[in-house]
Symmetry: C2
Subunit: 269 residues, 2 copies
């Protein structure tokens, strides 16, 4: 049986990675876990995010995945190294793929990053960018309200335009030539963010880039699914399965089945 | 001492990969081998290209590199698997990075590829693209004269424009939305190729994409150079070192030292 790629997120944001894996690696089977009962992770303490991430990884390991993808920037920022140490399969985060693309894309060496408070506070993008390319200048901004828009299913329209325009008003005047969407929720809002930032700024979609790195890593370890039937993906969420299903089906443009998971109190802490 | 990334090519084409590694991974030390005495590889038999590639890899192994990059599409097409079997460090070719980027970039699923006769005849791009994404339609064209332009140091100007316009005249009317520059020499000609193909077609530069995959692979095996002094690169070529140096310095925009290598007859066959 084909081993799956396990993808996890605090909620529906990681579905942007799912969509890209489905598009770029149509032969791969995906198991997704969205922790919608405890979203957003952005404002939580690092300790809490690490604990939540480990719980989900433990849950996903029962399926014997060939790779674990932490499709949440906040969780990648604080839990990637921990999870890497504790499992034997490759663990991919969403920060380095975006950082590498920014390094490839920028001509001025000035890179913008937007993300949740947790991601921005962690300095994980600065670290990833400057560790690889020390001369890179990084401008960053926390945009906490963007996740809430997406988790409510709002991707465009007047309210979204107003909120994004207001949050990015000063930031868009900074001299960057590319902007990392440093939260997997943000590609849902990419059209509006792109309009606000203007055509001079290339948007870097972590989801697209993460799917591409998944392809690279599986390919180099000889683990790409190169044959086989149309895979059947599995979706789990810890919150309202109906809302999750509605957002997922609209984003992925296909019918999916969602299995609700209830965290037991004894497992929460 | 820092272990280098060893990069090899049939001539000066692989310098496009060198330039991108220097830009995207400024801390990495590079050892380059350009087989300018035996360029071009494009029209040669597979057996001969495999033999030449193995000779260069054997030469480079004395430096204890942490990775070998076959920065030549022709050699990647026919020798990558062989070389991978025979060495213990990761071996990166230039075909899959371009293929993966095409899959990420295309919205229509129709991808163009230009390369040498050897690369196009091998069908290596079709295979790489369709093995990952079976629905991809691939249109390919051999452009053997492009390498000769570059090895003569001609990157633009009237002669170049005329030759490229003529070769691509029919091909540019095909319905692709991205075009893989499937030869490491072609980024030297990217400006003119871009003009001829028009703004609707995204050019995919294997050199940029290969440097980015080198970053991904070294990062995932914990082998990125994350500290250290400005690296001093080393360049070897088997043909005229003066012409090589002139082209390399103009392309890399820095002074380099070239060590000429003479193939002994007993080593040739």
């Amino acid at each position: 049986m084909q081993r799956a790629i396990a993808i996890l997120d605090s909620g529906v944001g990681g579905l942007t990675v799912v969509k890209e894996v489905m598009r770029q690696l149509p032969r791969e089977k995906i198991i997704y876990f969205g922790d919608t009962a405890r979203t957003p992770y952005g404002p939580r303490s690092s300790e809490e995010v690490v604990m939540f991430t480990r719980q989900i990884v433990d849950y996903l390991l029962q399926f014997g995945p060939k790779m674990i993808v932490i499709a949440c920037n906040t969780a990648t920022a604080v839990a990637l190294q921990e999870v890497r140490k504790s499992v034997s399969v490759p663990v991919v985060g969403v920060i380095h793929p975006g950082a590498r693309t920014a390094i490839k894309t920028t001509r001025t060496g000035i890179v913008g990053v937007i993300g949740t408070e947790g991601t921005i506070r962690s300095g994980a993008y600065e670290q990833a960018l400057q560790e690889i390319s020390p001369q890179t200048e990084v401008l960053s901004l926390a945009c906490p309200t963007f996740v809430t828009l997406v988790e409510r299913g709002l991707f465009n329209g007047e309210e979204v335009r107003k909120e994004i325009g207001c949050v990015l008003e000063l930031f868009r005047k900074q001299p960057m030539d590319c902007l990392i969407l440093g939260c997997t929720h943000y590609p849902f809002l990419a059209d509006v963010i792109g309009e606000v930032m203007g055509p001079e700024v290339s948007l870097i979609n972590s989801a697209e880039e993460t799917a591409r790195e998944i392809s690279t890593i599986l390919s180099h370890s000889g683990q790409l699914a190169l044959t086989g039937e149309q895979p059947i993906h599995q979706f789990f969420c810890s919150g309202d399965p109906k809302l999750f299903q509605r957002i997922a089906q609209s984003w992925l443009e296909e019918q999916i089945k969602v299995t609700p998971i209830v965290w037991q109190v004894s497992r929460l802490y």
